[in-house]
Every structure is written in C-alpha cells, then in structure tokens.
Symmetry: C2
DNA sequence: GTCTATACATAGATAGAC
DNA sequence: GTCTATCTATGTATAGAC
C-alpha cells in the first residue's frame, strides 16, 4: 500500500486542478462551452480524460470553476478610481490596467465574452451584484468629478462600457485586429503603442486631455 | 400527381430558406455554432428537421449561409466616409448607422462576434480582403483630414476598431449592459440616448467636438 | 489517486415512404 | 417537395481494475 503524505497529496491535487483549469480556460476560449470537449481539455492538460472527471465531476462544474477564477481578476483594475485621485491619472491607469489584462489574459477575456454573448446564465449573480455595485460606485466618483468641473459631462456608467468594449476588443477580436493590420501577432510593443493611443483617445473624449503630459 | 408551378415552387423555396436562415441566425447567436442544434433551428423555423437538411445539406453549410447574409450588411455604414464630407458629420453618421445596426440586428452582430471570438475560420477571406481593404481606404480618408488639420492626430485604423467595439458592445454584451443598468430591455429611446452619448464621446476623442451642433 | 474500457445520451445526417 | 424512422458518430460520464 502506497500512502501519499497528506501535504504532498494536497500539492498534487492543487497542481492537477491548476493544470486542468488552465487548459480548460484555453479550450473554452477557443471553442465555447458547447464546442469544448473533455477529451481536448484532458489532452491539453496532459492527463487522461477520466482524471478530469475526478477533479471536476461535470463539464459544467469545470466551466463554472474557470469562470470563477476569471471573475476575481475582473474588478481589480477599477480600484484606482477614487474621489481623491487626479481624474486623468486615474482613468489612464485604469485603461492601462485593462489593456494589460487583455494582453496577459486573452483567454480569460474570451471566456467571459463568450459567456455574456450567450446570455450570461452562469454569472448572473456576478453581473447583478458585484459588477453592478462596482459600476455604481465608480460612476458616482466620475459624477463627482463632473460636478466639480474636472471632467466633461457624460453618462458616466456608459464610460465604463466604452472602456471595457475598447480594451477587451484587443483580446476578444484579436484575429480581426491582426488580420486588418496584417500582423501575425501583437507583441508587447504593439500593445504599448495601442495603449497610448487608446489612453489619449479616451481622455480627450472625457475632456481630460490637458491634465496629463505623459503618454 | 400534384405538380407545383415553377414560379410558385421557387417562391416556397425562397420562403423556406428565409425562414430557416432567420431561425438559424437567432439560434447560432444564442448558443454558438457547436451549441446550436438542427432540431432547435427547425423547430424555431416551424419545419421538420429533415427539411432543414433538404435546403442546407450540412450544419456548416447553413452556418456559412448565415454568415454570408450578415457580411453584406457589415461594410455598408462606412460608405458615408468620403474625403469631401465634413469629418464630424461623416463620423457621426457612421456611428449612428452602426448603433442602429446593433439595435436592429443584434443576432447578426452576435453571430459575427462569436465567429471572430473562435478564430474566424469561416470568414478569413472576408477579413483579409474586403474588410482590410475597406479599413485601409477609410483610414486613408481620415489621414487626409488629419493632414489638413481637420482632426486630431490618431492611429486611424484603430479609430475603426474603437467604433466597432463600442457600438457592437450594445448588441453583443447587451445582457451585461442591461443588468448593470438594471433595465429589462433597451428600447428605441434608450438607444437614442446612448447613441447621442457615444457620438459626443467619440467626436470629442477625435478632436471634432466644435464642428457639429446637433446631437 | 490513476486510468482503461464502456455505458448511455445526444445530435448530425440519410433512407425511403408519401 | 415533405416528413418519419433510423443509422452513425461523438462526447459525457462512470464502473471497476490497478
């Protein structure tokens, strides 16, 4: 009888779960929930099919776990937006963080986009609770800036939709972007250029163009 | 023997194909290619399953036909952007047309988004030929405006990505938008408000804010 | 805890009567 | 041209040996 030490066993468990989650994120991103197969996820994780079922009993369980791991990333960038911060600085930081997220976690962005696109049934609570509250809070901050004459008057909740749309576009629609630009891939320096352009565009759109100097 | 008159038979044929295409567009939009079933498409079209196979031999054929019917819609709005037009007017018209497309054809937008999201294998020629050429042409028009000092200096090809991202967001991510705004649905007047906000934001972002008066 | 073999369900596609 | 019945493939999930 080969008994595995508890600490070690726990590590293997976590390690395998992590491998499966990473593989699943990629496969779900590339083919959607229905298109993804356990076989492909297992192969991509370097594990036999039944092993995936051992850690995540059903495909839906696994999908929910992937979504969960994404949602924790999703709200973080908005932390920079506070009443006391300089509007232009705060919004520029936010946009940069969102662009960085698109560059580093394109699969996460695609899984999220796919879930929303198909009705968002699995993340309804996140949308109606966490995200909604967050947007209300941050929109209130922007409204304060507008009242103080520090920003152009806009419907502030839509400002977030626009920033999400633009920044996530570079992850979700990357094939279209690369094809239209005739680029094989978008490297870090491409993202730096794009990020600077997006920051300038959005800040100008919000009437914040004169406040910052650095791109 | 019941022979159907040729003209009439042609009409039934077109009518059934149209019903199937409409139903397929909706089902593909809601569940993606893999998630869609012929049974659901047939039910939604009010026809038996085998009838769908009669008109479109395979699921992929049907999917391609749906995409084809969308692509013809996709390039039209950019026609308003010409060297002689007033920059602000032309861009405002373009944005309004794209927002209207999102309002009227949300399923088409979702099918397109889904296809891009999953690699765009079925529309690669469209992306690399038609769309790429169109963007190059229209970006050149914008570059001309910039040279003439009529618009702020920006990377003009990305301007199109931004406008697509924002306007299509209201179709593709409608569940998120509605949930965050706590609205059951977005009516025509909601779209009118949003469109005006988007037009103002984008024009200001492009340095065109002073040129137009009407929202 | 791992993995092979397999049961079971679903869905794409087709044969053939009408 | 329409539709029922069915074939076949694929993929989820599980049983059971190791």
């Amino acid at each position: 009888m080969i008994a595995v030490a508890p600490d070690n066993s726990g590590r293997i468990r976590r390690q395998n779960q992590e491998r499966i989650l990473d593989a699943a994120e990629r496969v779900f991103a590339e083919t959607g929930f229905a298109g993804a197969t356990i076989a492909e996820i297992a192969a991509s994780a370097g594990l036999p099919k039944a092993n995936v079922h051992y850690y995540f009993s059903t495909k839906e369980d696994l999908y929910r776990a992937v979504l969960q791991s994404i949602l924790t990333l999703w709200l973080a960038p908005a932390d920079r937006i506070t009443p006391d911060s300089d509007p232009a600085e705060a919004m520029a930081d936010y946009i940069r963080a969102k662009m960085e997220a698109s560059r580093v976690h394109p699969y996460a962005s695609k899984v999220f986009a796919n879930e929303i696109l198909h009705g968002g049934g699995q993340i309804q609570p996140f949308l109606s609770e966490d995200l909604r509250r967050r947007v209300e809070d941050k929109a209130a901050v922007l409204d304060g800036w507008i009242s103080g004459g520090r920003m152009a008057p806009v419907d502030t909740r839509h400002v977030f939709f626009w920033i999400w749309a633009i920044t996530q576009h570079y992850a979700d629609f990357d094939i279209q972007v690369r094809t239209v630009l005739a680029r094989k891939r978008l490297a870090r320096r491409d993202f730096d250029h794009i990020t600077a352009e997006v920051v300038r565009f959005v800040l100008r759109g919000l009437g914040l163009e004169f406040s910052i100097q650095q791109g």
